[in-house]
């Protein structure tokens, strides 16, 4: 006990003398090197354990498991030989469709919420709330709204004469795909809105004021001044949200389970079924790698577009 406390006091003393000479340069620098590594070590170790190692493993597994005759490509050969392109098309439709919806709502809404309004803080908090709603509750909400007989959508459509008879929204392939897309957009809207809003806030207020006359946009100011300023943020938000929605599993799983008749089957659902239903880890891993690579491609396209733009204006 005593040795421990002595050792501790000695060590802390050493560190203090080390730093009282903080401005002597070298000693401080050496200390910072050690301290920096010590401070990031736990997080780095944990992330290596739960992210990096599993990530290496998933690539390894996707390449080296499966039919030994075609080792290396067996799982990918299976994947592209299955109904991959149908599932890919659904996934892409949902991801792109939801991002378009998000942008159509987020950009005008950001312009509105950037103005002086009563209760603006509360409005911003409320409208970003879907981000915090658990996906299980998102699924409940859309299941309930889309219910064939008792859902509000059908009730309103029927009572206003928009529909002659109730529509089984989640039972019709096209409508089910649309419903899933809307649910994704609902959950993803806050992300896009916040990114666009923070870009708007970085515009000098005088510039925004100058762009308006009597509260309305001066002719051409929106297209030629405001939107160009937002362009890179909108692109970033769209790509980030698209990657997120492309890889999103639980809303589709809970809302339609991929149905009806596979109309809303997505790559994350395909992975889930391979890993946890068909119990084929190699094939699931191949799907996982493809989902990851789709995100990488999207980011590369974004970066490439940025470079091309800069070059054009250089």
């Amino acid at each position: 006990m005593r040795t421990l406390s002595r050792r501790f006091s000695r060590r802390s003393k050493a560190s203090e003398t080390g730093l009282s000479a903080a401005w002597a340069g070298l000693t401080h620098n050496a200390y910072v090197q050690v301290a920096g590594i010590a401070l990031v070590a736990p997080a780095t170790f944990l992330l290596c354990l739960v992210v990096i190692a599993p990530f290496v493993y998933v690539i390894w597994e996707s390449l080296l498991s499966g039919d030994p005759a075609t080792v290396g490509v067996a799982n990918y050969r299976w994947l592209f030989g299955s109904d991959f392109w149908t599932v890919f098309r659904h996934t892409l439709t949902i991801a792109v469709g939801s991002v378009v919806l998000e942008l159509l709502v987020a950009v005008p809404l950001a312009l509105l919420l950037n103005r002086r309004l009563f209760g603006r803080g509360a409005l911003r908090a409320l409208v970003t709330l879907p981000w915090a709603v658990p996906t299980i509750a998102v699924a409940t909400a859309f299941l309930w709204l889309a219910n064939t007989h008792y859902g509000l959508f059908n009730q309103i459509a029927l009572s206003t004469g928009l529909l002659g008879e109730p529509l089984a929204i989640l039972g019709e392939p096209d409508f089910a795909l649309a419903a899933v897309t809307v649910a994704y957009a609902w959950k993803g809207l806050p992300l896009v809105l916040i990114i666009v809003l923070s870009a708007l806030q970085s515009l000098p207020p005088e510039q925004l004021e100058a762009a308006r006359v009597d509260g309305a946009w001066r002719r051409g100011q929106l297209q030629h001044v405001i939107l160009p300023h937002l362009r890179s943020s909108i692109a970033l938000a769209a790509v980030l949200s698209g990657i997120y929605n492309f890889a999103l599993f639980d809303i589709t799983y809970l809302l339609t389970g991929g149905g009806p008749a596979g109309a809303t089957s997505t790559l994350p659902l395909l992975l889930y079924n391979q890993e946890f239903v068909a119990l084929d880890t190699g094939r699931a891993a191949a799907v996982g790698v493809v989902i990851f690579l789709a995100g990488v491609v999207a980011l590369a396209l974004l970066a490439g577009a940025g470079v091309a733009r800069r070059r054009r204006y250089a």
């Binding site: 780095t44 992330l47 992210v51 409320l126 409940t140």
Partner: protein, 284 residues
């Protein structure tokens, strides 16, 4: 002069009203399950639009939901998992964020890379290897396993949020500490930690929300009903059940209950979200 002022004011009121309406429409799906959860569970399913709105404040759906299923236990499990995940995440993310934001040292690059990969690899991709690894370590169907897995997204997110907070602390304050002869550890304890307390709370709140809301990992790792978290338990309870009036009503109540902690925490800390969003958005 007065006329212009009045016109300005009218426009402000009208715009505010319009904004409130738009926001109400957007969050309507959630509002609707909240409203529906207060309806009478015995007359829950109605074909009449006029009866779809609650006429009185009825909480029997909530007592039914808590009564008929193991919702209490599942919520308890969720509190434990999300709480432990939050503590573990802050414990490793706070020092790392401080070092990355304030210290120049070798090794920051590799940590930064780890964070990037942590963001860039979607959860669904990680689900495959993590599940296999947990099974091999016999950590599947355990809280420890689920907590470790949740750190794959909470640690990068918390580190990102916290870095912003540490960067915002003026360097002068830190240097004043050094000039007074304090060690790095004392500067951290007496200057950095108190000043970054709001950041720690915000990062903690977000870690809690992310862990609490998780469905994917909890559903593949927990196989026994005793250990379900709330979202998984709710899904298991209502899947395959005949959706009668009372069961629909319970589903509304259970969904609102499980949303409550996240929504409240988010309401308190939402203004700190920007940095985390900009960094952590790729996580699927």
């Amino acid at each position: 002069m007065t006329l212009a002022w009045q016109r300005e004011r009218t426009r402000l009121v009208l715009l505010s009203l319009a904004a409130f309406l738009v926001v109400a429409v957007i969050i309507f799906p959630f509002l609707w399950i909240v409203l529906s959860s207060f309806r009478d569970p015995d007359n829950f399913l109605t074909l009449e639009l006029g009866q779809a709105f609650p006429t009185r404040f009825d909480i029997s759906s909530y007592s039914l939901a808590l009564d008929r299923s193991d919702l209490f236990r599942w919520i308890g499990n969720s509190v434990f998992v999300a709480g432990a995940t939050t503590l573990l995440s802050l414990l490793v993310a706070a020092p790392a964020a401080f070092a990355l934001a304030r210290l120049r040292f070798r090794g920051s690059a590799i940590t930064g890379l780890g964070l990037m990969v942590g963001y860039a690899v979607p959860s669904i991709t990680l689900a495959v290897p993590l599940f296999v690894i947990l099974v091999n370590l016999r950590l599947n169907n355990t809280f420890v396993g689920l907590i470790l897995v949740h750190t794959t997204f909470t640690v990068p997110f918390a580190t990102w949020v916290l870095q912003d907070f540490y960067r915002a602390i003026p360097a002068d304050l830190e240097q004043a500490g050094y000039v007074d002869g304090a060690s790095l550890l004392r500067v951290i304890a007496h200057i950095i930690v108190p000043l970054s307390l709001p950041g720690l709370l915000a990062a903690g709140a977000y870690s809690f929300i992310l862990s609490w809301n998780d469905f994917l990992f909890a559903s593949v790792i927990m196989s026994e009903a005793d250990r379900f978290t709330a979202p998984v338990g709710i899904n298991a309870y209502f899947t395959g059940r005949n959706l009668t009036e009372s069961v629909w009503a319970q589903l509304m109540a259970a969904s609102v209950l499980v949303s409550l902690p996240s929504v409240v925490l988010f309401g308190i800390f939402q203004r700190y979200l920007v940095s985390g969003f900009l960094g952590g958005a790729v996580k699927g």
